[in-house]
């Protein structure tokens, strides 16, 4: 069936509904509040289990994910009831540990499969995906919690990294971490935190470009953002992981569909392998590289470029992922490997075998399904909305009733219902009506291994299982003409390839002009993140920013501007709600474990 939306409707949906008004801002604010609260909730749960050890029954990752989703929905119940058509979870809660970059939200019934097909990870305590497979965290893990809420398509997403510390039990009255986190992970956490704060301040400067420090240019453009982030990453001996992005989001277009739809008027900075490649090639002495140019896509506005200026009244998603590069002194390329469930159960130490827990519907595809179960399921999926979903979100007993204390029973009923959904889902995804959101793992490949490899076919090899790519960025290394399949093969063939731990921070910010802001002055509204909710963990990094560099000087100027109440730039944070759940109040003060 041909789907088309008329020009007037397109104007309304893409332009008019995205104009910042009081009502729109309010929806954003509530969505932000709920996501902040949900993050507090899940952080609190993790703290209770691993730091305070107050929970008698430790919850596994899959249960934590589901409980947080359930919490979001119960919270959302009170807001905009019968006022908006669509509201709900924008991203199913992901809990990614260390090397897993994104997408780890296993279903309840998948836990067994994962342990069965990753025996090597289970038995070895120091295997890279040990905690991921067991479902329980251990001290030293870097845990990335990602979640999102949308109300009427106005989306707020948040991602925060926390560290599991060994607990110093000398003082029982006030538990404290045994010490700060050191090493590569600490560098990455520091770099990501600083980069996040800087980019937020930079975006705030777009409201008053005259206040922008001179070393950062006249106005905030895509290349300014890239330069700032790259500089900070370099200073901390880190690399920006492909898939990081600072992008404008619109109603219902919050980046959840990247790679599935080729979004019109994409505005944002993205980091991919091709950007790394360009940087590596610029410094290389090798001259005889055959540069292969790829065909340009049809709609130019769908191709992300740095050639844009941040303007007022826009909403931005700042999603930064960084990895430490202390593993090797050599040059290398950070790449993402998509985890799948069918590449053999070889029980390798460096390989994770799992299937994705969340799916996203591709509305451009139509197919008449044969099974009654799948038709029923598709009906549910279509009703659920345009955001990624987990099958357990469609269950009858979801959201879980946490009042009666029968958590295990509720989980078992959901698990039972999942069996039926799996049957329908296989037909749906076989016909491309839904796409799995990929689980990705960060890997580092030595650059010389890529350069030395022969590539007779160029970028013509086609990878059917390639992760979702943005238009214009289908070929990961366009200059060398290396396709994603070739890159995958290169990653596997090198003995020096290592898995990288990844730190992720993701915030949603609104650039409010003076007509909508609270105090009449233009200000940046930080929907998610901020020091109250996402306090950085206690770390010590041996690196620091080089003040001599002009760009770094600009960064310091920016930070001082945010501190200046009178003449600086104003940033307002959305605070989480006070009460997490009935009878269980959380202190809003700083968490000992968190810092």
């Amino acid at each position: 069936m041909e789907l088309a939306v008329s020009a007037e409707d397109t104007q309304i949906l893409l332009k008019d509904k995205n104009v910042l008004q009081e009502s729109v801002l309010d929806k954003y604010r509530v969505a932000g509040q709920i996501s902040q609260t949900a993050l507090k909730y899940v952080v609190n749960l993790i703290n209770n289990i691993y730091h305070f050890k107050t929970e008698e029954r430790p919850l596994s990752i899959s249960e934590l994910c589901l409980l947080t989703d359930s919490f979001i929905l119960t919270r959302l119940e009170q807001y905009y009831k019968n006022k908006v058509n669509e509201r709900g979870i924008a991203i199913p809660t992901n809990i990614d540990i260390d090397q897993v970059v994104t997408g780890w939200c296993p279903e309840l019934d998948d836990v067994e499969n994962i342990t069965n097909s990753n025996k090597e990870q289970l038995t070895k305590e120091d295997a890279p995906f040990n905690s991921t497979v067991t479902g329980f965290l251990k001290a030293g893990d870097v845990v990335k919690i990602t979640l999102g809420v949308h109300i009427d398509g106005y989306t707020s997403e948040i991602s925060h990294t926390m560290v599991i510390y060994p607990v110093d039990s000398s003082n029982v009255a006030e538990l404290k971490p045994a010490g700060p986190l050191l090493g590569g992970k600490a560098d990455a956490i520091a770099a990501t935190h600083i980069a996040m704060e800087t980019v937020t301040a930079l975006l705030a400067c777009a409201l008053t470009p005259e206040k922008l420090p001179a070393s950062l240019g006249n106005n905030v453009t895509g290349s300014t953002i890239r330069n700032v982030v790259d500089t900070i990453a370099r200073s901390y001996n880190c690399g920006v992981v492909p898939g990081s992005r600072v992008r404008r989001i619109r109603r219902f277009l919050a980046g959840q569909n990247e790679g599935i739809i080729a979004e019109r008027e994409y505005k944002g900075v993205i980091w991919t392998e091709s950007h790394e490649e360009a940087k590596l090639l610029a410094n290389t002495e090798v001259k005889d590289i055959s540069v292969i140019t790829s065909a340009t896509p049809r709609v130019v506005s769908a191709v992300p470029t740095d050639n844009f200026t941040v303007s007022k009244g826009e909403v931005y998603l700042v999603d930064l992922k960084m990895s430490p590069l202390d593993g090797s002194t050599k040059k290398g390329l950070i790449t993402l490997e998509t985890v799948d469930s069918f590449t053999g159960k070889s029980h390798k130490v460096d390989q994770l075998v799992a299937r994705s827990g969340s799916y996203i519907r591709d509305y451009a595809q139509t197919h008449h399904l044969k099974l009654k179960t799948s038709r029923y399921l598709l009906g549910k999926i279509d009703k659920q909305g345009v955001y990624p979903f987990k099958l357990s979100h469609l269950a009858q007993n979801f959201p879980i009733n946490m009042e009666n204390g029968k958590l295990d029973e509720e989980l078992t009923t959901i698990k039972k219902e999942l069996r039926q959904f799996r049957l329908g889902m296989s037909e749906i995804s076989n016909n491309y009506l839904c796409v799995e959101t990929p689980i990705q793992v960060a890997k580092w490949v030595p650059w010389e291994h890529i350069l030395k490899s022969n590539n007779p076919n160029g970028n013509l090899t086609f990878d059917a299982t390639a992760a979702l790519t943005l238009p214009g960025h289908e070929v990961p290394l366009p200059k060398l003409g290396i396709s994603s399949m070739k890159l995958k093969q290169l990653t596997k063939s090198s003995k020096e390839t290592i898995e990288l731990p990844v730190v992720r921070e993701c915030n949603t910010v609104i650039l409010c002009d003076s007509d909508v802001s609270n105090n009449g002055k233009p200000e940046l509204l930080r929907l998610t993140g901020g020091n109250k909710t996402c306090a950085p963990s206690w770390i010590h990094s041996k690196y620091e920013l080089n003040v001599q560099e002009p760009l770094v000087q600009g960064i310091f100027d920016l930070v001082s501007l945010t501190k200046d109440k009178r003449f600086g730039i104003s940033i307002r944070e959305t605070q989480p709600m006070k009460e997490i759940s009935t009878g269980n109040k959380i202190t809003t003060g700083t968490d000992a474990m968190e810092l």
Binding site: L13, D382, Y387
Partner: protein, 412 residues
């Protein structure tokens, strides 16, 4: 051993006799009757029929030899139909007249009395040899013909009293078998033995009238009450009704209902219509209903009996060419559009705002241009990749040491 003929219900001594019987016309005739699910006739009856046929065919062939068989048949049929129609009309008028008289009588007497059966005894209709009259018929005008037929019919009239079964075909001696004490018992008998069911008894006001009407139809008109089969005499029509199981009052089409509607009173079912006065169904109305009945069909599923309401407030009934709007609010579509009414169309997919936004923002186009050259290059690339992999595998397999233990070649 007996030789039999199942068709004619006969037994023979020898097979010769049986064979000769099988070849005769009587047997053939009975075979045809059997196919038509009619009982066999005796030889005497058959011979009589043959005699009649011969006479009539002689006359016919003498009269119009020029006409083809087909035309003849058509003419015969038309004549028969015409006759039937006239008879029915006459029967109707008679009935109405009788009813009016009855009403008058009742009014004059002041009380309604159950009418006694007429003192005319049951008589077997006389056998009239029509051979002589056939020639005259052709010369008469239609009016005269009608009169003549009427006279003939009245002469042949057999009045069946209300306490005598309408269908039982007993001769004079066994007559008492089909005669009952009163009408109710008779109706009971007819219901039990012949399945004569009177529809909508709740609204039936003139039961006797209905029975009388039926008896007149059979006795005077010699017409089957179901299929309007025109019998030659009472016996014939009774035989027809019994053998065809046509012993019921048809109550399916509007026409059937209208025919006996004067014995019914449905005013109690009209909630919004409070006028117990007589519903006059004009001949024109009946005709209209009759014509339309076959052509219009209900679009919405409504329970039966809705048709009766058609006549109530006439002013709201109109047709807009495509549909007939009934005063009850039901729209009746034309049969020619039936296939469209029967279609179950898939509802158009309605996009929610979110889906609409995604579709509006999407710039993917699924029609990819098929470039032969690139496809060829791509295929070649795949092939060589596979080939290279196989070769590499083979080479690496060559140098794998598969010996579990060291074996000295010199010691073998």
């Amino acid at each position: 051993m007996m030789y039999t003929c199942n068709t004619c219900c006969l037994e023979f001594e020898t097979s010769e006799l049986q064979r000769t019987h099988m070849k005769c016309d009587w047997h053939r005739y009975n075979l045809k009757r059997r196919v038509a699910q009619l009982p066999p006739v005796s030889e005497a009856t058959f011979n009589g029929k043959m005699q009649q046929m011969k006479e009539s065919t002689e006359d016919d062939s003498a009269k119009d030899k020029v006409l083809t068989k087909k035309e003849q048949r058509r003419k015969e049929k038309e004549a028969l139909l015409e006759k039937k129609r006239q008879l029915l009309e006459i029967a109707r008028q008679n009935m109405l007249k009788a009813m009016q008289e009855q009403q008058k009588k009742a009014e004059s007497e002041g009380i309604m009395t159950v009418e006694e059966p007429l003192p005319i005894p049951l008589i077997q209709p006389k056998d009239i040899t029509q051979t002589g009259e056939e020639n005259e018929e052709a010369e008469l005008t239609p009016d005269q013909l009608a009169e003549k037929l009427m006279a003939e019919k009245i002469a042949n009239k057999v009045d069946i009293p209300t306490n005598v079964c309408l269908f039982c075909n007993h001769n004079q001696k066994e007559k008492h078998l089909s005669t009952f004490k009163d009408m109710e018992e008779n109706i009971d008998h007819m219901f039990k033995c012949h399945g004569f069911y009177i529809p909508e008894q709740k609204y039936l006001v003139d039961k006797e009238g209905l029975i009388k009407y039926m008896s007149e139809k059979i006795g005077l008109g010699n017409v089957c009450i179901v299929c309007n089969y025109q019998g030659r005499n009472l016996e014939a029509v009774r035989n027809h009704m019994l053998s065809k199981r046509h012993c019921k009052i048809p109550y399916e089409s509007t026409n059937d209902k209208l025919e006996i509607s004067e014995f019914y009173d449905f005013t109690s079912t009209y909630q919004d219509y409070k006028k117990p006065e007589t519903v006059i169904v004009s001949a024109a109305d009946v005709a209209v209903a009759g014509e339309d009945d076959g052509e219009w069909e209900d679009v919405t599923d409504e329970e039966e009996g809705e048709g009766e309401e058609d006549e109530i407030p006439e002013e709201y009934l109109y047709s807009d060419g495509m549909a007939l709007h009934l005063p009850t609010g039901i729209k009746v579509g034309h049969r020619s559009l039936q296939r469209y009414f029967n279609q179950v169309v898939k509802p158009e997919r309605e996009l929610t705002e979110g889906q609409g936004t995604l579709v509006a923002a999407d710039t993917r186009s699924f029609v990819s241009t098929f470039d032969k050259k690139t496809v060829q290059v791509q295929q070649r690339a795949w092939q060589s990749e596979v080939k290279d992999k196989k070769r590499d595998d083979k080479r690496s397999a060559k140098f794998i040491n598969q010996q579990a233990h060291y074996r000295d070649q010199l010691l073998q």
